[in-house]
């Protein structure tokens, strides 16, 4: 029991003083997770819309791949990116391994199938009559996609939230391609694992609490956006 109270006390102290790079790690986490979610959204939303609205060969296969990708183990994604970016790997000359860029790439790889799958499912769940009506109104391809995306905007936001949720608490890939380097690639999850290994439960708890607050904050922001979108 003492261990828990000591840990909580240490967590509060760290949060109050900002010691142990807590806040720089938090900022880095927000940046890397935000960037990977952005990349995954920029890639995943158009693909999801394309799968849901287009007619092309291999459409079902693509959707099946995206759906399967939602269960992609982060460690496997991390391994794949690590092999690609390893110094002797195909993209080793870029020198990205153990940098935040490698973490963004790996996390985007994890989040993209989630965004694609949720976005496609959201747009596909729109009533078929709506698709027909919009086309019957004389919408060109771009207008059709825009109007259907607008109709499915809440589902698309959920897709982005799913992508964010998929990477914010991820630790395997982040460690594998980032290396958990202090001041460079250490994020809340990898730092928490390190502190537990060292027996610094207070620090680990503080990091865990901050991660929780970060998730709640981002969810609150997205939920408020969702509510505003709904009213529009």
């Amino acid at each position: 029991m003492d261990l828990i109270f000591d840990a909580l006390r240490e967590a509060v102290r760290l949060l109050r003083t900002g010691d142990g790079d807590v806040y720089s790690i938090t900022a880095r986490t927000a940046l890397i997770t935000g960037a990977s979610t952005l990349v995954a959204s920029l890639i995943g939303l158009p693909i999801g819309l394309g799968i849901a609205l287009g007619r092309f060969p291999g459409q079902r296969v693509l959707l099946a791949i995206a759906n399967a990708g939602t269960g992609l183990p982060p460690v496997v994604a991390g391994l794949f990116v690590a092999i690609l970016l390893w110094r002797s790997g195909p993209l080793g000359s870029l020198g990205l391994i153990y940098t935040p860029w490698a973490m963004i790439i790996a996390q985007a790889l994890i989040a993209t199938p989630l965004v694609v799958s949720f976005a496609a499912a959201g747009v596909m769940s729109l009533p078929p009559s709506l698709h027909l009506q919009v086309r019957a109104m004389g919408a060109g391809t771009g207008q059709y996609v825009w109007l259907m995306a607008r109709e499915a905007r809440l589902a698309l936001l959920v897709a982005v939230m799913a992508g964010f949720g998929g990477v914010v608490s991820e630790v395997g890939a982040a460690t594998m391609v980032g290396g958990n380097l202090s001041g460079s690639t250490r994020v809340l999850t990898t730092a928490a694992v390190l502190e537990v290994n060292r027996g610094n439960f207070g620090t680990a708890l503080a990091l865990g609490l901050i991660l929780l607050v970060l998730v709640v904050l981002v969810s609150a922001v997205l939920t408020s956006v969702q509510a505003r979108v709904r009213r529009r």
């Binding site: 009533p127 709506l130 027909l132 086309r135 019957a136 109104m137 004389g138 207008q143 607008r150």
Partner: protein
């Protein structure tokens, strides 16, 4: 105004799962004319409408407002028409914006959109809904908005796919009347899919009866609905189809060439001096019903009766009745 027909179909076919679900050798819709497509469920009515509205790939020639449709001009041609479906399919935005979006897609300038949208919401009696969300209005109101959206773009050709089958009887009656007035006032040609004979009769100049994807009969509404030419058309219109034996029993004289006759239910009656039959089935509808009587020849004769008359104790399944028909209403038919 277009010089030729508003719509012309030639050898239009739609194939699904290896078979033709629509096969229309020729069909036209004159400018300003209303053509109703009637047929049983699965006859291909909606498929015909979707193909004609360029919303479904189809083989053959479709000429819309004088221009032959092809892959490259379908969007442009759709912008000269409008379509109203059974589901109003309003977008998740205000009612006013719903109409403005349609007008924007049709290239109407921004300043004109609002005025046109308000004008048509007023004409359809839903101006008070302008600021409500499309998803928040009732089914009848939504269909009024859908009609306003369609007419606001001033189409020369309007497609309507069972537009009122999702609304209650009173709203349907009111909307049918209003649609008729709007079509006449705007001079818009319309292709309307319906399974309601009275709706077709009220709205359409001509009717095409569709069966298994093929036109059975095309002609003036009154002619088609009163004088079916084939057994399938007669059965769909609710006529009894009688063979030679039944005709003899009922005193119907055929021309010697045809061997079958169609009798509308309201031309048959219970008559003590008539032929003997056995009540086969009693069918009640809204306000009226039908009595199905099996004649000695084995044919069934439908008699239109009020629900009150159908409640008579003698009219139960298996009881014996006497029936007669009005010979002047009997229609000789081919197979």
């Amino acid at each position: 105004m277009t010089a030729g027909p508003a719509l012309e179909l030639r050898d239009v076919r739609v194939r699904r799962a290896g078979r033709d679900v629509l096969d229309v050798p020729a069909l036209y819709l004159a400018d300003g004319e209303t053509l109703a497509v009637l047929g049983p469920n699965g006859a291909g009515k909606s498929t015909l409408l979707l193909a004609a509205a360029l919303l479904l790939p189809a083989a053959g020639s479709i000429v819309v407002l004088g221009e032959a449709a092809h892959r490259g001009n379908q969007v442009r041609l759709r912008r000269r028409t409008a379509t109203v479906f059974q589901d109003p399919a309003l977008l998740d935005m205000t009612v006013l914006r719903n109409i403005e979006v349609a007008l924007a897609l049709h290239g109407v300038s921004r300043p004109d959109r609002r005025a046109r949208a308000h004008e048509w919401l007023s004409r359809l009696g839903v101006a008070h809904l302008a600021d409500q969300r499309g998803h928040a209005v009732s089914g009848g109101e939504a269909q009024r908005v859908s009609l306003a959206r369609a007419f606001a773009v001033r189409p020369r050709l309007l497609f309507l796919d069972e537009p009122f089958s999702g609304v209650d009887h009173a709203t349907r009656a009111a909307l049918t009347g209003e649609l008729r007035a709007l079509l006449a006032a705007e001079g818009t040609a319309a292709l309307i899919v319906t399974h309601d004979h009275s709706e077709a009769l009220l709205l359409a100049d001509r009717v095409v009866l569709l069966h298994a994807g093929r036109p059975l009969q095309v002609g003036a509404s009154m002619d088609v609905l009163a004088r079916p030419e084939t057994e399938a058309a007669a059965r769909f219109l609710g006529f009894s189809v009688l063979g030679l034996g039944a005709c003899v029993l009922l005193g119907i004289r055929l021309d010697g060439v045809t061997e079958r006759a169609a009798v509308p239910p309201d031309a048959a009656r219970l008559d003590v001096a008539g032929a003997v039959g056995v009540v086969e089935r009693v069918e009640a509808g809204s306000g009226a019903g039908r009595l199905l009587v099996q004649l000695a020849s084995g044919d069934s004769l439908a008699i239109a009766l009020s629900v009150e008359a159908l409640r008579a104790p003698a009219l139960v399944v298996g009881s014996q009745v006497h029936v007669a028909v009005d010979p002047s209403r009997v229609v000789p038919i081919g197979r």
